[in-house]
């Protein structure tokens, strides 16, 4: 029973989050470009995206006559389901995790790869040149960028010796049973807070975080890696033929994916549900601000801040060319992430022993 309850709450949360993220995206882009964005519908235009989605649900559901009907229908469902399933192993607080399995991170990487399949199906089934080109680009990009992302994650996993996301969170704060070191020299097991976060446990993990963040941008097709959807070249990429509810599902999945990768980044590198406030002498801020509700607040704040950063980056940087994109991935990020894995091994063997 609780299982269904949690999944319904999660689905509701993701739907509302996605609508608000679209609103935030429009507002941020408008402000960056010296416009005002949506202002008319509701206070500060907050109801704009709700109005948009109601319009979208009422629209005629068109399937192109030459499209592959079954695949065309399945693709958006698959994409959204894949992203939604990813939230199963995400811990929201020391108590709340849908499924605390010991292959959590491995499962997440596998789930994220399924999205690629959905995108290929969408592009292929549309029977449209632009859609097919977009989906092919998307696949080439996502599969390539999964390697640096996975290697950056691996460098963290080597340090924590676990794939369970809940245990990873525990090892980044005051609840840890092992001793934690700030950059390997200062014992912060009792101090906690921002000093115990993964990125500060070893100097190279900061670089691993940057690698993961760049790769995650590419994985959710965000600028500067948005060549699958490049409006100026491909109309809208793989979802060019989609309308109404199916388009809504694809759109929702895109924003849910942004949130999912931000959640993973927050858990792996930024302390998960741990507080950023450290214990200072007798003032134990970290102990006060660690708990079920605090945990939900902290992890959502961290993930939403990363989403905001993604939006900010989108409206600042221009798009990469395909060859530049591949160069960055294969010639820069992958060697660098291999080096991070090597450093992690050295760190674990020689510094933390």
């Amino acid at each position: 029973m609780a299982f269904y309850f949690i999944s319904v709450v999660l689905l509701g949360f993701i739907a509302v989050y996605a609508l608000m993220a679209v609103w935030a995206e429009r507002k941020v882009s408008a402000w960056i470009q010296d416009r005002v964005g949506p202002v008319v519908t509701g206070k500060y235009g907050l109801l704009q995206t709700f109005a948009d989605i109601f319009k979208m649900l009422q629209k005629e559901d068109i399937t192109p006559t030459v499209a592959d009907k079954k695949l065309f229908l399945t693709a958006p469902i698959l994409v959204f389901t894949a992203v939604f399933m990813g939230f199963a192993t995400i811990p929201f607080s020391p108590q709340y995790i849908s499924s605390s399995i010991n292959i959590g991170l491995f499962y997440l990487l596998a789930i994220v790869s399924i999205e690629v399949l959905g995108i290929l199906m969408a592009g292929w089934a549309s029977n449209n040149k632009y859609a097919l080109l977009g989906s092919i680009r998307s696949i080439a990009q996502i599969i390539s960028y999964e390697i640096p992302a996975a290697l950056a994650i691996l460098s963290v996993v080597m340090l924590f010796q676990t794939l369970n996301l809940q245990e990873m969170c525990i090892q980044q704060g005051v609840l840890s049973k092992q001793s934690l070191y700030f950059f390997g020299f200062w014992d912060v097991t009792k101090v906690g807070g921002i000093f115990a976060w993964t990125i500060f446990q070893a100097p190279h993990l900061l670089i691993a975080f940057v690698i993961y963040f760049i790769a995650s941008l590419a994985e959710c097709n965000r600028t500067p890696f948005d060549i699958p959807e490049a409006e100026s070249e491909l109309v809208a990429g793989f979802h060019v033929e989609y309308t109404g509810f199916k388009f809504g599902a694809l759109f929702l999945a895109e924003y849910a994916m942004m949130f999912l990768v931000s959640m993973i980044a927050a858990i792996l590198f930024l302390g998960g549900w741990n507080t950023p406030l450290p214990n200072i002498a007798s003032v134990s801020l970290a102990d006060y601000t660690t708990g079920t509700y605090w945990g939900i607040v902290w992890i959502l704040l961290k993930a939403l801040a990363l989403v905001l950063l993604q939006i900010w980056i989108r409206w600042t940087f221009p798009r990469y060319r395909m060859d530049q994109l591949m160069t960055l991935c294969w010639k820069v990020l992958i060697p660098l992430s291999f080096a991070m894995v090597l450093f992690s091994g050295i760190w674990k063997l020689f510094i933390l022993n």
């Binding site: 941020v28 402000w31 960056i32 010296d34 416009r35 005002v36 202002v39 900010w312 600042t316 940087f317």
Partner: protein
């Protein structure tokens, strides 16, 4: 061989871009409604450039040349404006008065009734020629620019104040006066010697 740029150069560039967008993100969001005649109109470089139109409006100069308006009391129905109009948007129907019907504010005597004085703002191209030729300066361009209608027929502004019955009455009177005049003229033609005698 292209010169290799250091990784620091790249990050500096990225950071610079982010700072620029952040600056715009933080800038004020409401545009001040400043007219062209206000101080610093050409120095509004910061902040939102969107004018939320019906809520905020730019002040326009008092001598703005937008929609036409006419002061009918001063109009002598000379038809000059209708003749000069390049797009024929002014439609006038004049009725001769039986006697002088008053004076305009600049002292010109009015001899014609305006049964119809329509200006079709949908056709108007705002050239202002009609205001130039108007001898009594009763046809002017005003600073009012914001008038919108759901029915395009409403764009045809009606300025004549005469009702249909009144116009018919005036027309009949004019016709009668015309007839009387014609009769008088014919009577005069029939007695040329008398006329001549009278003139002499």
């Amino acid at each position: 061989m292209k010169k290799k740029k250091s990784i620091l150069f790249v990050w500096k560039g990225l950071w610079k871009g982010l700072v620029i967008t952040l600056k715009h993100f933080m800038s004020p969001k409401r545009r001040v409604s400043k007219g062209i005649q206000d101080e610093g109109y050409f120095h509004q470089r910061e902040g939102s450039s969107t004018l939320r139109y019906p809520a905020d409006q730019l002040p326009v100069p008092e001598v703005g040349r937008y929609q036409l308006a006419i002061e009918m009391n001063d109009c002598i129905v000379c038809d000059l404006c209708a003749k000069i109009c390049p797009v024929n948007c002014i439609d006038i129907e004049a009725i001769k008065a039986t006697e002088d019907i008053g004076k305009t504010s600049d002292g010109t005597t009015k001899r014609l009734h305006a049964a119809k004085f329509d200006i079709d703002m949908g056709k108007c191209m705002f050239c202002g020629l009609c205001t130039v030729v108007c001898p009594t300066e009763c046809l002017v361009m005003t600073n009012e620019y914001d008038r919108s209608f759901t029915d395009p027929k409403e764009l045809n502004y009606v300025f004549a104040e005469m009702s249909v019955e009144e116009a018919a009455q005036k027309r009949a009177a004019a016709a009668a006066a015309d007839l009387a005049k014609k009769a008088a003229k014919e009577a005069a033609l029939n007695k040329p010697s008398e006329m001549k005698g009278a003139q002499q």
